[in-house]
């Protein structure tokens, strides 16, 4: 697990810092882009005891300011089973996140890599985690910080790319729970 993580990081670093690589890259559009992703959100300890891994949907819209820098806004939703001590049992909650972020990246032929980070707001759909003190009474919103990395594969059509990304996020108001959002995405650049 640790070894594969190192390989991914190394690949991202090589792609990001590879000088002059852009010249020989497969043609890729640059400018306004939209991304849609499907994946999963898994909570890290201690919250992983009280909330199960769940499916996630991500949407991101942004603009490449330079070949190596882009900015964007993203919306994400994930659904989780609350595994708090019963009762309740078998209840689900949803976590919604919206944020602004910046992405630094580079291209090596048909592959591109990036690192990203940002901040925004998160909303939880119910107080089911109140039982384990993750949310306080009446608390539905938290600031959200996230950072992560990903790789993209540019398709023959210069507008399209597919990729794999993983972001860690932190929600300070919700007892500082941390989670990993990993996703497969399709990117369309105008």
């Amino acid at each position: 697990m640790r070894r594969s993580a190192l390989v991914v990081i190394a690949l991202v670093v090589v792609v990001v810092v590879a000088p002059g690589a852009t010249a020989s890259a497969r043609p890729a559009a640059s400018g306004w882009f939209a991304e849609g992703g499907l994946g999963a959100v898994a909570f890290l300890p201690k919250a992983s005891r009280d909330a199960d891994i769940g499916p996630a949907l991500d949407i991101r819209i942004g603009r490449d300011l330079f070949s190596w820098l882009g900015v964007g806004i993203s919306l994400a939703a994930s659904s989780h089973e609350a595994t708090v001590p019963p009762p309740p049992e078998g209840e689900w909650f949803q976590l919604y996140r919206g944020s602004g972020d910046a992405r630094i990246g580079g291209r090596l032929d048909r592959f591109a890599g990036f690192v990203e980070g940002g901040a925004g707001i998160a909303m939880i759909s119910s107080n089911v985690l109140g039982k384990v003190m993750i949310t306080d009474p009446g608390e539905r919103f938290s600031i959200a910080f996230h950072a992560g990395a990903g790789i993209e594969y540019q398709l023959e059509n210069r507008h399209y790319a597919v990729g794999l990304a993983a972001d860690g996020f932190l929600l300070p108001q919700f007892a500082a729970i941390r989670a990993i959002d990993s996703r497969l995405f399709l990117r369309y650049t105008y």
Binding site: E89, Y96, P137, H159, Y190
Partner: protein
């Protein structure tokens, strides 16, 4: 192609926004305490446990009050603030057997709306007949087998609670016989006809219709959940009330509002419904 992709992204964004704005998300109210029962008291009787959970409902707004008053005048009856359909409530419970022997437990569901409370021990329909069956609770009272040291979970569903709330209103405001109310399915009833008070001491007394029928839009919803826990060995019951607040009348702080913002909670003082006994 570009249009299709754009439509997918816009559609996805709208769907996410819609999900986030959903007002139908459940709220969870933990029980005020763990109910422990099943031990024997000094007289050798099994100890039962009782608990109540008052729903934290916001004070009624002036516009709601005006609408309610207008509807009441139109129908010629009392229209409650919290009506059937405003809240969808469910009770989830867990029984833990603390004994080394398997046992059985019963959970009886009772409660109150803003007008009346229902406690079957205060309704004696046959005072002269010692063998008459006791007045039933609104729901439950089904034997549940619990293995030694084991745990059993279950729930009273939204349908159960809706039926219980209508039965409660029929019995208390409509003077319908509790056995009849419990044994008929009324969750989809469109109205019920109030009757004169039952008089169990009067021989051959027949109840007669009294006043206009109460339509569904004036059915009172439960604002308090009461549970009676009756195990035959030492057990504990934990429960939790799940509410879908369809009208947006629950206080944002939920039970914390009782201590933090009590002035923002609607005070309800339901009258105990009694038959054949002196009101407490």
């Amino acid at each position: 192609m570009r249009t299709i992709v754009m439509s997918l992204f816009v559609g996805g964004a709208i769907a996410l926004g819609g999900l986030a704005g959903c007002a139908n998300d459940p709220l969870y109210l933990p029980a005020p305490m763990t109910m422990e029962a099943g031990a024997r008291d000094t007289t050798g009787m099994l100890v039962e446990a009782k608990a109540s959970l008052q729903l934290p409902i916001k004070t009624e707004s002036a516009s709601d009050l005006m609408k309610r008053t207008a509807l009441g005048e139109k129908l010629g009856i009392t229209v409650p603030y919290v009506k059937i359909g405003d809240l969808e409530t469910e009770v989830e419970w867990t029984i833990k057997n603390l004994d080394t022997m398997p046992g059985q437990a019963k959970i009886q569901l009772n409660g109150a709306n803003e007008l009346f409370s229902y406690d079957p021990t205060l309704i004696v329909l046959a005072p002269d007949d010692e063998e008459a069956p006791p007045t039933p609770g609104l729901d439950g009272d089904i034997p549940i087998n619990v293995p030694a040291g084991g745990t059993v979970t279950g729930l009273f569903t939204e349908d159960n609670l809706r039926e219980a709330a209508i039965d409660l209103d029929q019995v208390t405001r409509g003077n319908v016989n509790p056995f009849r109310a419990m044994l008929t399915i009324s969750k989809n009833a469109t109205s019920f006809q109030p009757l004169t008070m039952p008089m169990p001491d009067v021989e051959d007394y027949m109840q007669t219709p009294l006043g206009p029928a109460i339509p569904r839009e004036a059915f009172a919803a439960m604002t308090r959940i009461d549970l009676v826990f009756k195990p035959d060995t030492h057990m504990v019951l934990e429960f939790n009330v799940r509410v879908r607040d369809l009208r947006g009348i629950m206080h944002d702080l939920l039970l914390a509002a009782v201590t933090q913002k009590p002035g923002e909670l609607q005070p309800f003082m339901p009258m105990a419904y009694t038959v054949g006994v002196t009101p407490p």
